[in-house]
């Protein structure tokens, strides 16, 4: 028996790799719907977005800036939440400004955006009036800092080189004072911290910031949520699935989370087996 556990302890990692590969890929083809209970952070995110609806219902124009700071590697986690958020904002007739502090961010956001625009109900959504893509510009914190005073200082033209003054939406938006919310999707180190540091005012009338991040970034983002510096947080694929369930639009995140569930179970089983094997063989080793 001990020999078996010893073998188990030194199991070839290729077997682990194979099981992980199967656990992440097979569930994608055999979807099993799960009951998703949104966590507190996701519910706050949803509440913050819904708060904008009160304004739009009054006929006020609401402008949301979405900053994409992620690359293709984290698309499965971040794109579903970006898609769900953009969809909700479009449904609420909110004006959207897309930008990014990493080169791949805006194109990835626009991929989701363009997919949504194919839906007939969004055929009226017009570039320049309802949404604008500012694209990427180099400088990270410096860009945000500059935008606080005047967005056109840092983005004189949009992604296609159009003067912002020619875009009706951007004529109304001078700086962050004219923006109701910043939605940041990030997989990068600085994350939402840079936005809080430079864009957020300490006064109450400051715009809301909500944050969508990868799973590994969740622990470091919680302090900002609890301190009220961000108004909502979607953490990883679970956060995306939470939000999809909250807005009743189950899509990719709801589908992928099943694969993630299986993968987590497999990893946990490995940990349990590893620990059992560890205890069984410990006496021998001692």
């Amino acid at each position: 028996m001990e020999k078996f556990f010893e073998k188990l302890l030194n199991i070839d990692r290729k077997i682990i790799f194979l099981l992980i590969a199967l656990s992440t890929s097979v569930p994608l083809f055999y979807f099993y719907p799960q009951k998703i209970i949104a966590n507190k952070a996701s519910r706050k995110y949803n509440d913050a977005i819904n708060k904008l609806e009160e304004k739009t219902k009054k006929g006020e124009e609401v402008v949301v800036l979405i900053s994409g700071e992620y690359d293709p590697g984290t698309v499965p986690e971040l794109s579903p939440m970006a898609r769900a958020t953009i969809k909700k904002l479009l449904d609420m007739k909110v004006k959207i400004i897309i930008m990014g502090l990493v080169p791949m961010g805006p194109p990835l956001l626009m991929e989701e955006f363009n997919e949504l625009l194919k839906e007939p109900k969004y055929s009226d959504v017009k570039y320049g009036i309802d949404y604008v893509n500012l694209g990427y510009t180099v400088g990270n914190a410096v860009v945000i800092k500059g935008m606080v005073k005047n967005i056109k200082d840092k983005y004189p033209v949009d992604v296609m080189g159009t003067d912002l003054n020619e875009l009706p939406l951007m004529r109304k938006v001078k700086n962050f004072d004219n923006i109701d919310m910043i939605v940041n999707f990030s997989s990068m180190g600085g994350g939402v911290k840079t936005w809080i540091q430079f864009a957020k005012k300490t006064t109450e009338e400051s715009m809301d910031i909500v944050f969508g991040c990868t799973g590994v970034m969740v622990p470091e983002s919680y302090p900002y949520l609890n301190s009220g510096q961000i108004q909502g947080l979607l953490g990883g694929l679970k956060g995306a699935a939470d939000y999809e369930s909250l807005i009743k639009e189950p899509k990719n995140a709801t589908k992928y989370i099943f694969a993630q569930s299986i993968a987590h179970v497999i990893i946990m089983l490995f940990i349990i087996i590893g620990n059992i094997a560890f205890f069984v063989t410990r006496k021998k080793r001692v």
């Binding site: 790799f17 293709p72 590697g73 180099v138 296609m160 875009l167 302090p223 699935a241 993968a263 990893i267």
Partner: protein, 595 residues
């Protein structure tokens, strides 16, 4: 000095950036703006340095044939391939067309689609010229605008508005052009809306008066006011105004600039379609002619295509069949048409142009280009979704296509421009799609396709590929090699790299996540619960009302994790502050390569 200068710069920039948070002083804020711009430029340069460094390190590796030097070759080749393809924009649109695409992606002002507001816009534009002149004069002579503008010029309350703006202009005279431009935009909107509010009679009268005054003022008072092709624009405006004034004869006489165009077709807009007099007059003219052809042949004809009228089928077909080589079909003026004409300016051989479903607005520049290039094009056909009744279009498109490609006088270059947005719209525009498909299939010559939107680019490209033959495609989103590298090489590679993490995490947790002691056991249990909480399956292990994995996970994240993270963050922040201060004050010099 090698160290002193960088130290001085660091200190200065650091102090200014700190001070601007505490002081509203303009010079400090100005300096801060300059410094942050510099930072951005330096950040951009660092990217170039990164590229150079990549070449240096990998070049050295290849030269010395160090271990895995083959991979370095792949890196260098990939780098240059991407750079060259990106800069050369292979498969993408040319810079010229980038401009066109950009223009089409822009909505210039709130100019409505109908002819009336179109005219309003042009009059506004001209009035803006006068206003601009008056504004400049008033700024120089310290007068009010009301006293400078001719009294006969009816401008509503715009004078008062301009007068209000005058002090601002005077105050910031160095920026007067920018300000005047902004005012111009406001004026456009104001004038346009005021024009809309008028009934046809008062519109008729006032617009004539305004126009007459404008013309005089432009010619007499404002000799320096540059209007390229002014004469043509004037004729154009007159013709259209005459049309609006229900005077077809006047319109015809003013159609001089349509040298090669014998038939001018426009569609009734909502305003005009309600105008029973005009419809009656048209009907009368038609009745009095021996035949429809006779009616069209008599002279240049301004013909209004009536909506929901059965005559349309017959009329349009007749017109197209008779005057196919010399026809201009227009809905209302769309800048896309002008853009196409603009894009054709370098192609003197062009004889066919087609535009579909363009919904864009017009600016003065487009009018100029339109007038400039339209006479170079023998056939210029426009179909759009506003033309009611698919049957008409179906019936007429076929002969158009047939004739378009049987002409062998010149090298045929066809320009296709289409804006096909959503799938829903595509269904509606099925007829146009059919036309486009058929056109491409029948094309025996070079086709230059200009996709305005991504959707239309996709569609055109798809049809071009199906149809075969030579073609040029100008678009960024589809067909650009750079975007394909991004989509099909970079994205999967990057995703693969990140996905590998899952395998290593699984393998590492199996080997390292052991309950060796109390601390490790605590970590193991917490990690276990958070992992379970991060997936919905964890809820299956919960006991309702007693124990919820999600709640425990939430608690772990909200209380212990948050407290520890806060502590770490505060520590890091203090460290950043002290290090920054050391850098600013020149105490920390290790980054300069010394003590």
């Amino acid at each position: 000095m090698r160290k002193e200068i960088p130290l001085f710069i660091t200190g200065l920039v650091g102090i200014v950036l700190i001070l601007q948070y505490f002081s509203p002083n303009k010079s400090i804020n100005g300096l801060e703006g300059i410094f942050t711009n510099w930072m951005q430029i330096i950040a951009a340069f660092s990217m170039i340095l990164g590229v150079l460094n990549l070449i240096r390190v990998n070049g050295d590796k290849i030269y010395k044939k160090r271990k895995n030097w083959g991979f370095s070759i792949v890196i260098i080749v990939s780098l240059f391939a991407t750079l060259i393809i990106g800069f050369a924009n292979i498969g993408g649109k040319s810079m010229y067309n980038r401009k066109i695409l950009r223009t089409n992606g822009t909505v210039v002002g709130n100019i409505t689609k109908d002819v009336m507001s179109h005219n309003g816009f042009k009059v506004t534009d001209a009035s803006f010229g006068i206003m601009f002149k008056a504004l400049v004069d008033a700024t120089q002579k310290e007068k009010t605008i009301s006293s400078i503008l001719p009294k006969s010029l009816k401008t509503g309350d715009l004078r008062a508005k301009f007068d209000k703006m005058l002090p601002i202009v005077r105050k910031r005279s160095h920026k007067s052009i920018e300000i005047v431009n902004n005012i111009g935009r406001q004026v456009n909107v104001e004038l346009e809306s005021s024009l809309k509010k008028m009934n046809s009679q008062s519109f008729n009268e006032s617009i004539l008066r305004v126009y007459d005054n404008l013309e005089k003022t432009i010619l007499e008072e404002n000799k320096n006011f540059k209007l390229e092709n002014k004469k043509l624009i004037d004729e154009n405006i007159k013709a259209q105004l005459a049309f609006l004034f229900k005077n077809i004869d006047t319109a015809n006489s003013n159609l001089k600039y349509y040298k090669d165009i014998k038939v001018f077709i426009t569609e009734f807009n909502d305003f005009l379609s309600k105008d029973k007099d005009l419809i009656a007059k048209l009907d009368e003219n038609i009745k009095n002619s021996k035949s429809y052809n006779d009616f069209y042949k008599k002279s240049s004809v301004l013909f209004a295509l009536k909506q929901n009228n059965k005559l349309n089928d017959f009329l349009l077909k007749n017109i197209l069949d008779t005057y196919l080589n010399n026809i201009y079909v227009a809905k209302s003026y769309k800048n896309a048409k002008v853009n196409i004409l603009k894009s054709l300016s370098g192609n003197k051989d062009l004889i066919n142009a087609l535009t579909l479903n363009i919904e864009n607005k017009l600016t003065q520049q487009y009018i100029k280009d339109f007038n400039k290039y339209v006479s170079n094009t023998e056939q210029y056909i426009s179909g759009n979704k506003y033309v009611k009744g698919d049957a008409i279009i179906k019936a007429t498109y076929k002969p158009i296509i047939a004739k378009l490609y049987t002409t062998e006088k010149k090298k045929i270059a066809s320009v296709i421009s289409a804006e096909l947005k959503s799938p829903a719209l595509l269904k509606k525009l099925k007829v146009n799609q059919l036309f486009l498909t058929s056109l491409i299939k029948n094309s025996k010559s070079e086709v230059t396709a200009l996709g305005i939107s991504e959707k239309s680019s996709e569609f055109i490209m798809q049809k071009l590929l199906e149809g075969g033959g030579e073609y040029k495609l100008y678009t960024l989103e589809v067909g650009s090699s750079f975007m394909e590298i991004y989509r099909y090489i970079f994205t999967p590679l990057s995703s693969t790299m990140f996905a590998l993490l899952a395998f290593f995490v699984a393998s590492a947790s199996y080997r390292a996540f052991r309950a060796r002691n109390k601390e490790a056991t605590l970590l193991l249990v917490a990690g276990f619960l958070v992992m379970l909480g991060a997936v919905p399956i964890g809820e299956m292990l919960s006991i309702p009302g007693v124990f919820s994995v999600a709640e425990v996970s939430d608690f772990i994240m909200n209380v212990p994790v948050m407290s520890v993270q806060s502590g770490i963050m505060i520590g890091v922040a203090l460290g950043v502050i002290s290090t920054s201060l050391r850098l600013i004050l020149g105490i920390e010099r290790s980054h300069l390569g010394g003590d």
